[in-house]
């Protein structure tokens, strides 16, 4: 983990330097007295690792000495999630399924980075590329697939390797290499219009590359979709800004030393400095072939996943069962289960009979679900199609003899649950066939969940049924996270999460085992917010530890409640709050935002996004003096100094001499502004000054979740006020609109118009009143985009504009108290730490920053 080695870092590798007390590989020779049979797995991918988990779950650790040999140097990771990693939506650390430590902790020897070359089935040993020879009693091949590179002139360099700039899309290393390349590239060609190609194209496009997608077939995703659905998908993909070329082969790759372009069969040439080949995968069978096993398309196995050698098995994408080779993770995981049953003797007669592939995917941002056939095949097949090309929606079902034999849902997968179980189990279909595809009576989503029979599958990746989820709920586990942990539902590709949530909600209601903690403000105190506030006021509780002592069961503190309580107490008590550092999250303890390597980011306040040459000079000097790894203009119209060592923070603040911008807090963050009437030829009001005034008044005010504001000088909305927690828009004649509950983050919601007022002062008053109402009534971490619809705009209008509950004076006064209590935290403990060692390094032996230096 040294600085600057990000590209070769082992994913899920050890964090501590390897010590002699944690052997990874010498177990090999330590086993003379070990009577356990030797179980060797080749391939540490999704099937291999799951198989090991399943064996351990069945107590197989006692029976077997397990060795896993895998060509990739990493721990086991969720390959499905490479698409979001490539898109920059997930971090690679978050897709680790089993780290190296996990293997060690479970007594499994992982020899990662070791390719197996040959099996000697007579001697029952495997020979690996590192020269080692490993004996086995049972051998499991889980070698997966590799990217197929179609023959194209020039695609490989003289040494047989892919021409630099050409990538497959199968492994984390390929993904990292592409991520590394996107910064240097401008134009990408993606070959292949199937799932992987579309995902790659979308991801690269998101990195700002111009993307051309070349697909040899007449429509996209031709394996899963019919021509009409394919055409609609094409439109959705094109609307992302991706150019699609159909029905044409790429025949040539141009460039010497690095890819420069791609030649198509029709003579066209597309320039590109990056080429992704996603033209399908092929099972990795070479090991089987070389070792004399029966191999057709995949390594041939029987219903117990056994090859033609009685002690050698194959699972996952490298296996061919009853003529089928699968390209999805669900069958691979079913293989793992059956084989674990067989080998551990849990169920020696377990058999695998094939998987029905109902697929639910999100492809290039579009929801897709397919099962069975996609077009009618017989004269009397019923075929129902709803096509709305404008909305990118195409739904169809094929019915034969009153049973569902196929369904394709594109752009709208709300009916997938019912269709999947009708398809799997031949459940009776509604007379009015159209009800299969749309809810005529509306609001029927919940009925959908209730209707589903218990054995219908919800999570395809992990084979979890509605019944299994309900059982866990009935057992008292009603938190979505808990249910997901225990059933593994939603832990593969994640596309079923919302369905899992619906089922949990439904099951919890019906079984009256609803988790009361759902309504608590923080998990450790059994009270909803109004009750909690009343108790805090009544008992005069001014510190986090006082709250725990008085209100928590048995007076027990709870780490995950501390931050929420600190925020609430600060709001309630203002200057009379009794601070306790351990009640704060690290960001609030050191007034900066923690980064992936333990360094921090520093964002000075820059009201309304307005700065001065002097400020900029000071920031520049500080950045140089402290060797700040990256200086970046933020999306909040200010400047971020990233990768700062904790111990440098106080000195940096004092050199900056600017207040904190609170970019780390659950608090008022920024007020973005546009140039407004002073400069802009369309400006209708002085948005810049009003933004500065708002930011000056509400700076640093803590709240249940972030509050982001903006003011614009006209409805052109250049500073995005329509999508802010509070957004203010000048509409002329001195009038200003105040919008609330907007956001353009993980949730995109246009704010609701709360009122149109006559002066900047009225804006400040109303904004303050709204924010105070939100502070007093929102749940912990509930942004205004959830709060406003939950309470209802009408109700909020009545309370704030008509004073229907007589609260307005109190709201204004409470807000004023918070405004008065504001002090700049950087001024506070810059000079003198507020606790001993407040700014001491927490990873004293690791030279920081480890984040890259730009």
């Amino acid at each position: 983990m040294g600085p600057g080695v990000a590209v070769s870092r082992v994913l899920g590798g050890r964090v501590m330097p390897p010590s002699p007390f944690h052997p990874t590989s010498f177990r090999l020779d330590v086993d003379e007295f070990d009577e356990r049979a030797s179980l060797v797995v080749v391939g540490n991918g999704m099937a291999g690792a799951r198989f090991v988990e399943e064996v351990l779950e069945r107590g197989g650790g006692e029976q077997f000495r397990i060795t896993v040999l895998g060509e990739e140097p990493h721990g086991n990771y969720n390959r499905i999630m490479l698409s979001p990693v490539l898109a920059g939506e997930s971090h690679e650390d978050d897709i680790v399924l089993n780290s190296h430590d996990w293997y060690a902790d479970n007594g499994v020897t992982l020899r990662a980075g070791v390719r197996v070359e040959r099996i000697d089935t007579a001697a029952k040993v495997v020979h690996a590329a590192d020269g080692s020879v490993t004996a086995y009693d049972h051998l499991v091949l889980a070698t997966g697939s590799y990217s197929f590179i179609p023959p194209m002139t020039g695609v490989r360099a003289a040494d047989g390797e892919l021409l630099p700039g050409v990538y497959g899309f199968r492994t984390i290393d390929e993904t990292r290499a592409m991520l590394d390349a996107v910064g240097r590239c401008e134009k990408a060609v993606v070959m292949g219009g199937g799932l992987l190609g579309l995902e790659a194209a979308r991801a690269l496009q998101g990195h700002g590359l111009q993307v051309d997608l070349v697909h040899a077939m007449p429509h996209l995703m031709n394996v899963q979709l019919d021509a009409e659905a394919g055409a609609i998908l094409k439109k959705s993909v094109e609307s992302l800004g991706i150019t699609v070329h159909l029905d044409v082969f790429a025949t040539e790759v141009f460039g010497t030393g690095h890819v420069e372009g791609v030649g198509l069969a029709d003579g066209r040439r597309i320039d590109a400095d990056l080429l992704v080949v996603a033209a399908g995968v092929r099972p990795s069978t070479d090991l089987g072939v070389r070792s004399g096993l029966e191999v057709e398309r995949g390594i041939v196995v029987d219903d117990q996943l056994r090859t033609d050698d009685p002690d050698v098995y194959a699972i996952g994408e490298c296996a061919q069962h009853r003529g089928e080779v699968y390209g999805l993770v669900a069958p691979a995981w079913e293989h793992a289960k059956v084989l674990a049953d067989v080998l551990t003797g849990t169920d020696p007669d377990a058999e695998y009979h094939g998987s029905r592939t109902a697929t639910k995917l999100k492809v290039a941002g579009v929801d897709v679900a397919v099962m069975g056939i996609n077009t009618p095949e017989r004269d009397d097949d019923e075929f129902l199609v709803i096509s709305e090309p404008k909305r990118g929606v195409h739904l169809s079902v094929v019915i034969r003899d009153d049973t569902l034999v196929g369904a394709t849902l594109l752009g709208d997968t709300r009916k997938v649950a019912f269709l999947t179980q009708a398809f799997d189990r031949g459940a009776p279909l509604p007379e009015e066939r159209i009800r299969l595809l749309v809810d005529l009576s509306d609001g029927a989503e919940e009925v959908g969940v209730a209707e589903m029979p218990g054995d219908s599958q919800v999570c395809n990746c992990n084979g979890v049924t509605k019944g299994a989820i309900c059982a866990v709920v009935a057992d008292g586990c009603t938190a979505l996270g808990g249910v997901m942990d225990r059933t593994r539902a939603g832990k593969g590709c994640g596309s079923c999460k919302s369905l899992v949530k619906q089922i949990v909600e439904w099951a919890a209601d019906g079984d009256l085992t609803e988790d009361p903690s759902a309504s608590w403000y923080v998990p450790g105190i059994p009270m909803a917010k109004p009750e909690l506030i009343a108790a805090i006021r009544e008992q005069d509780l001014r510190s986090v530890s006082a709250v725990f002592a008085a209100l928590a069961p048995a007076g027990k503190e709870d780490a995950k409640s501390k931050m929420g309580l600190t925020s609430l107490l600060k709001m309630l008590w203002g200057v009379d709050f009794v601070p306790e550092k351990d009640g704060e999250f690290i960001n609030d303890r050191v007034h900066a935002n923690i980064q992936r390597d333990g360094t921090f980011s520093v964002v000075p306040q820059m009201k309304g996004g307005v700065t001065t040459p002097a400020q900029l000079r000071r920031i520049a000097d500080v950045a140089e003096k402290y060797e700040v790894p990256m200086v970046k203009v933020t999306g909040g119209q200010r400047i971020d100094l990233l990768g700062v060592r904790k111990e440098d923070l106080p000195a940096m603040w004092s050199d900056l001499g600017m207040p904190s911008g609170y970019a780390y807090g659950k608090s008022m963050r920024t007020v973005k502004t546009c140039v407004g009437s002073d400069f802009c030829r369309f400006g209708l009001g002085d948005s810049t000054q009003l933004g500065i005034d708002l930011e000056s008044r509400f700076q640093g005010i803590e709240s249940p979740a972030k509050m982001k504001l903006a003011v614009v000088g006209c409805p052109r909305n250049c500073a995005e006020a329509y999508v802010k927690d509070v957004g203010v828009v000048a509409v002329g004649n001195g009038k200003w609109e105040v919008h609330v509950g907007g956001a353009a983050g993980a949730t995109v919601r246009k704010g609701d118009l709360l009122a149109t007022v006559d002066s900047p002062e009225a804006v400040v008053t109303l904004a303050g009143r709204f924010m105070q109402y939100y502070r007093e009534n929102a749940n912990w971490l509930e942004r205004t985009y959830d709060f406003v619809p939950r309470i209802g705009l009408e109700k909020i209008k009545q309370v704030l504009l008509e004073d229907s509950e007589g609260l307005v004076a109190e709201l204004d006064a409470n807000m004023q108290r918070s405004v008065d209590a504001y002090t700049d935290p950087w001024g506070q403990d810059g000079g003198e730490p507020s606790t001993p060692g407040q700014f001491r390094p927490s990873l004293p032996l690791i030279p920081l920053p480890e984040v890259p230096v730009r």
């Binding site: 052997p23 503190e557 999250f585």
Partner: protein, 108 residues
């Protein structure tokens, strides 16, 4: 059975108890190993490896209660009793730590 139990440990004085404020953690180096030492609100002392087993997060910057330590980066929690993760990742390594006349003594 494991080699870990066979090795001998050495005790190091890494600092004074008052260097770790109540409820918080601070990192120290004990015999070439970085450790995070915590003083809980109930007065008890605990020590763990300094870097989170999940992705190397600075555990001394985490939040605590009498049961668990919560890493600041991805909020995985680790139990004081045995170091096990409540979220199913690898456990955190615990080191014995005690207060000897106000000195923090850690065994690694």
């Amino acid at each position: 059975m494991s080699l870990t139990e066979l090795r001998t440990s050495t005790a190091y004085t890494v600092g004074r108890v008052e260097e770790v404020p109540p409820g918080e953690g601070r990192a120290f180096v004990a015999g070439g190993v970085q450790v995070a030492v915590f003083r809980l609100r109930d007065g008890s002392l605990h020590a763990t490896q300094a870097a989170c087993p999940h992705a190397g997060g600075p555990l001394a910057d985490g939040q605590t209660d009498v049961d668990v330590l919560v890493c600041p980066l991805h909020l995985y929690a680790y139990r004081w009793s045995d170091g096990a993760s409540t979220s199913g990742t690898a456990p955190v390594r615990l080191y014995p730590v005690r207060d000897v006349d106000g000195d923090l003594v850690v065994e690694v």
